[in-house]
Amino acid sequence: MFRASVAERSAGCRPFRLLALAVLAGPLLGTPVAAQGLSALERQVEAVVRDSWGDAPPSEARRLAQDDTQLECSRVRNEPGEVLRARIQARERERIQYPEGGLVLGDPVEGERIAKDSYGGRVGRLRPDDPGRPNGGSCRACHILEPRDDMGGTLGPPLARFGLTHGTGPEAVRYVYERVYNPHAFQPCTEMPRFGYHGFLTVQQILDVAAYLLSPGSPVNRPESPRQEAPAPLRPAQP
């Protein structure tokens, strides 16, 4: 069925290279999807995807390739059963790498900047980011970070006062580090990105963010009580 629609697009421009193309060249991470066997429908839609993103430069086209966890979570619409949960969790735990200098809290001020910054990684003709500038963590896009935070998102739980319940002991530092490095090790198919695994944040940046979340003096852990109700939106979001 699908072949027709892909074939139409290709007619006259380039030969239609059927299903052989289904798997994108060279996935960056994890087990290549090719090894896992795609269904006929998946292969056909993957051909549409490849075709529809066909003009992206190679560095950007690589982002289209799915790794094992992305593919598995897409298939189950992020609701893995028990067996898959265990498999993803174990695999993603294996993928966590630790800083050579040990798990030592970084700079909370720098951490605050990173947590509130959404810069980085955006590509395309529409306002691409400068790859030379460090990425931000976009934590605030999904989390209310501080007791009085009108701009925090609600896709994830509020992190305001996080340090007051967790303290700054080695267990707490390890938890935040691992959770930010690879959240699928805790919650398979979570919406939260694997910041460390993808190298979107550096190990040092994650330790800085951990300091921001955990340090007693951080604005995260200000004593004010959190607001009762989620505040109303204040200004239009871009883009």
Binding site: S5, D51, S52, W53, R63, G120, R125, L234, P236
Partner: protein, 281 residues
Amino acid sequence: MIRKALLALPVALAFGVTAHADHMQENPVNILLGLIQKVDSPYLTQSEQNIMMMEDNPALWIVEDGKELFYQPRGPNNVSLESCDFGQGPGVLEAAYAKMPRYFEDTGRVMDLEARLVHCMMTIQGFPADDPAVRQRHGNESDHMKLQSYIASYSNGVPWDPPMDHPLEKAMRDAGEYIFFRRAGSLDMSCQTCHSATGQRIRASVLPNSSFQEEWTKAISWPAFRVGHDHVRSSQHRIRGCYWQMRQAGPIPGSDGTIALISYWTDLARGQPAILPDMKR
């Protein structure tokens, strides 16, 4: 609170549209208020200010510009777009957009409004592909946004009803569903990440839930005037913006992948009235 205040509005606004496009029976804001009356949705009510401004939506002027362009003989062939078939027969605009994307026999493709317009501009009016009329797809000044806004305005208040009769229509919808849930990139995101729950916010913006039909019909009602951009924007523009946000590469405008996504998202809103032109944040 906001909701209560808004419910008082429809009567006052009922005649708002007559100053603009005389083919439109109702101001789009009334369609929105009808939905707000029916359901509780933080997305629909998130900007009281926008709802107030919608009566004088700048997009209504763009609709007027589009009307002029539509009937004007243009292009190398010096003919108007009146013989263009948007699926309901040559020149029939009533409810045509609400029944797109659809399969067109003459091209053998499933096309969205933008692709169909490109097709007619090139085949009927004779514009070459690189003529600004065809090539420029974005911005208030573009022929595309004017024409798309005009054509779409004939579907204001019309329930979305993309046909699923041809196998390719069904196949494109299914491909769109697959792409919607396809996680990739360094933030591990898919459309589902941000559009599968009601009332969640990314920063301060309330996200529309793709499985809450009354909410989703507003989300997919494009063209819409985007207040933050000060421009009327299209479905294709929104898709590009969301991929940019996801840190994935943008799809080729008008590619099957983009039309598949639009087929799927329109199917999700099936039966709910379109708000055209809409106003968004």
